[in-house]
Amino acid sequence: MESSLFNLVQRYGSLSISGMCKNAGKTTALNSLVKNYPENETLALTSIGWDGEKTDTVTGTEKPGIYVREGSLFATSEKLLRSCDVTKEILETTGISTPLGEVVLVRALSDGNVQLAGPSIVVQLIGISKLFREHGASRTIIDGAVGRKTLCSRALAEATVLCAGASYSPSMEETIAEAAHMCSILTTAELPELKQQMGEGQPNGKYIIIGQENRHLPDEADILAEIKQSKAPRCLYIEGALTDSMLDPLVRSGLLREMKIATRDASRLLISRESSRKLKAAGGELAVLESINLAAVTINPYSAYGNHYHREMFMTRMKAAVPLPVVDVRE
């Protein structure tokens, strides 16, 4: 029997859900989770920013709301409160303002549909999670945005679910390849030595070359030259994002055979499939200071643009491509 999404994530107290594109099935995944949580638990929901209107403005497909149970908590903005059809109890006004008004914390006094709109700044989201707990929430789910840049650190959510859908591309092959690439980036392993080497403090400059000695280098440093001068370099740590244009000269130099490239977490690894392939071919490896816990991949064979995939085939091929549990979340 296939395990349900709920079974895969139920041990995590906090969870974030991200989509690889719009209409990837995030809301469907959220709804399937909400339905499955035990009734005696208080579930709290928020989102990173606001995802858009009830109807997707790009494609015109009807966007489902999230149907919560009585007693659930949620964060939304003043202006979206009207489109939530639960009976509401206002718990708190947070002072966090968004284009749609202040973020407010609400308890649902009945079952019903809610629209989420939380803050888009991580620190504020952490604050919201704290308020949720003060109001008795036992679990938090964060509706993430599209793309992996907001797939947040573990400070925010213990685990993450990635939603892959046919809306990404008319070609199933392309969608699966991209999903596999995202999974491989997101599951980049921690380099334990990194934590010891860095200690608690912030790095002193943008780069650290870890070798026989640790060298902290500023933004403008000529990294290739510095690596060549270093004794037995094992790892290049970058505070900030690693992009294709940064990676390319490193790959070409052939210096990466013995060296890893690391960032704070996987959300900073902004590299394309092509760069990732070249890196592998050159013998290079990525690492992170803090890994993200990717719990599952969900699939949605329906495309908002009309190119639906064959459900079983999509499932089988996705399973073969990613080393993670794959779940088909249907309505």
């Binding site: 009207r82 708190e92 006004t93 308890r107 006094l109 009945s110 079952d111 019903g112």
Partner: protein, 485 residues
């Protein structure tokens, strides 16, 4: 009146920045602080007395004050919600108003306890039990808000119906039956929302009689908050309750927190200043490095503080309400107007004179006309001094020019090196000090206090003394002395 830049220079902005009201209403009251005008003596006195009342009651009511500050800190500015009372209010408006009335339940008793003995002028914070009862019919006293169906039978009915549909929905698998239930639910929900809007409007109308009270409470909280902060400021420094009477201005041992702070950072200490000023001109003289400008700024600061309802930083203070405080110093004028510093001063003087002639004013002239040639500059300073001596305004001039003090009603001299008995010994000590550190060393010996000089009193030649101490060649010193004779 003083410009924004001048308020920065005299240390007024610095003092205001020391004050951190706990509530948005207090911050608002601080922002809208304005200098009082002649005729408003009684109002100002009451405001100042409120500070005195706070200082007096603080020791025995510390807990109540702490409680006030703690709850003030939690308040939000909800005046826009209060102003909408009577019309359609949202659930969030109602939540905010309920939260405020709950906060008042904590604030009012603490305030009453203090006010029993303090008896504040014009500050009354009242509990709003009846308004709270409207928003909390179940008397739950929790801070959250929902539109209760207690007084709205139709709403109660709709919510019951909605619940029963939702219970069925939970047990119904996807399909036609479920779709049917969902559409029933939408229909009931739409009616529920309509009823809720009406209930909110009804609540809003019920609150209407309390609207003014709520607004008055926000204002009273602002005043109380600011008064408490002013008292805190007064007790942190050496401040006093000023007299607001008479024609003249007098301060005993006044200081300036910003300059105190700057001096403390450099390892020095501020010398308290005492001044007694009457209508007409008072001249302050003294060597460079002598703190004449400091005296002017400190005077301006404390006069302005009194006008704005703060305790001045002094042991004793007397100042009538003035129509204006004006300050002219060439470093400020030139930069603003692109004129030469001298031209700038003259233009500003003309502007100010028309105001000064009409009412009570304090005019501060810092080394007026120093930017032009000394013979004419001296004449200009003497002329202005003679003219201002006949005016109703209180004028204070600092100057280097000869003969100005003789035309003024009073003369103060910065004590400077006056108290040093043995210049020879100090010179000896300085001789062993590296040249670069000598100026700082002399500064350490300077007494920045002000001495009242009687007519005909001989003044020490501090400038020449400083030349000597800094080791200027004897030959030049004797030539200088020759020039003076």
């Amino acid at each position: 009146m003083l410009t924004h830049e001048q308020k920065n220079r005299i240390g007024f902005t610095y003092v205001l920045n020391q004050i951190r009201p706990a509530s948005p209403y207090g911050r608002d009251a601080l922002r809208s602080t304005q200098a009082a005008c002649p005729g408003q003596e009684e109002v100002l006195r009451k405001e100042l007395q409120n500070i005195a009342k706070t200082l007096k009651t603080l020791p025995q009511a510390q807990a109540a004050y702490a409680k006030l500050e703690q709850v003030f800190r939690q308040t939000k500015d909800i005046r826009s919600s209060i102003k909408r009372i009577g019309g359609q209010l949202s659930e969030i408006d109602l939540f905010e108003i309920k939260q405020f009335t709950l906060q008042l339940e904590e604030i009012a008793p603490a305030f009453d306890e203090i006010n029993k003995s303090a008896k504040y002028h014009g500050i009354a914070i009242e509990g709003m039990g009846p308004a709270l009862a409207i928003l909390d019919p179940e008397e739950s006293k929790v801070a959250s808000f929902h539109i209760s169906s207690r007084s709205f039978p139709l709403l109660a009915e709709l919510r019951e119906e909605k619940k029963s549909i939702e219970r069925k929905l939970r047990l119904t698998p996807d399909g036609k039956k479920k779709a049917e239930l969902l559409s029933q639910r939408s229909e009931v929900t739409a009616r529920e929302q309509k009823e809720e809007l009406e209930a909110a409007l009804w609540l809003s109308k019920e609150l209407k009689p309390w609207q003014d009270h709520l607004l008055q409470n926000t204002e009273a909280i602002g005043r109380m908050d600011l008064t408490m902060q002013k008292a805190k400021l007064a007790s942190a420094g050496d401040a006093c309750m000023p007299e607001i009477t008479g024609e003249g201005i007098s301060f005993t041992s006044m200081s300036n927190p910003q300059m105190e702070n700057t001096l403390a950072e450099a390892g020095g200490q501020f010398t308290p200043l005492s001044l007694e000023l009457k209508a007409g001109t008072t001249v302050i003289t003294g060597a460079n490095m002598g703190g004449k400008s400091v005296a002017l700024k400190t005077l301006a600061l404390n006069v302005l503080l009194i006008h704005c309802g703060f305790y001045p930083f002094a042991k004793k203070a007397n100042c009538p309400l003035l129509d204006g405080i004006h300050m002219i110093s060439d470093d400020l004028e030139a930069a603003d107007r692109g004129l030469s510093s001298f031209g700038g001063e003259i233009v500003k003087l003309q502007e100010v004179l028309s105001e000064v002639r009409e009412g009570k004013a304090l005019m501060l002239l810092d080394e007026f006309a120093r930017g032009t040639n000394p013979s004419e500059g001296g004449a200009i300073a003497r002329g202005v001094c003679a003219y201002m001596s006949k005016q109703k305004a209180v004028t204070v001039m600092t100057t280097h020019y000869e003969g100005v003090a003789a035309l003024a009603g009073a003369h103060y001299q910065v004590a400077g090196l006056r108290k040093i008995k043995d210049h020879q010994a100090l010179s000896g000590e300085l001789a062993s000090t590296p040249v670069g550190e000598r100026v700082a060393k002399i500064a350490g010996y300077m007494d920045y206090g002000l001495l009242h000089i009687c007519a005909g009193e001989k003044l020490p030649k501090d400038a020449i003394n400083i030349c000597r101490m800094l080791g200027l060649q004897d030959e030049i010193i004797s030539l200088i002395n020759g020039q003076l004779e």
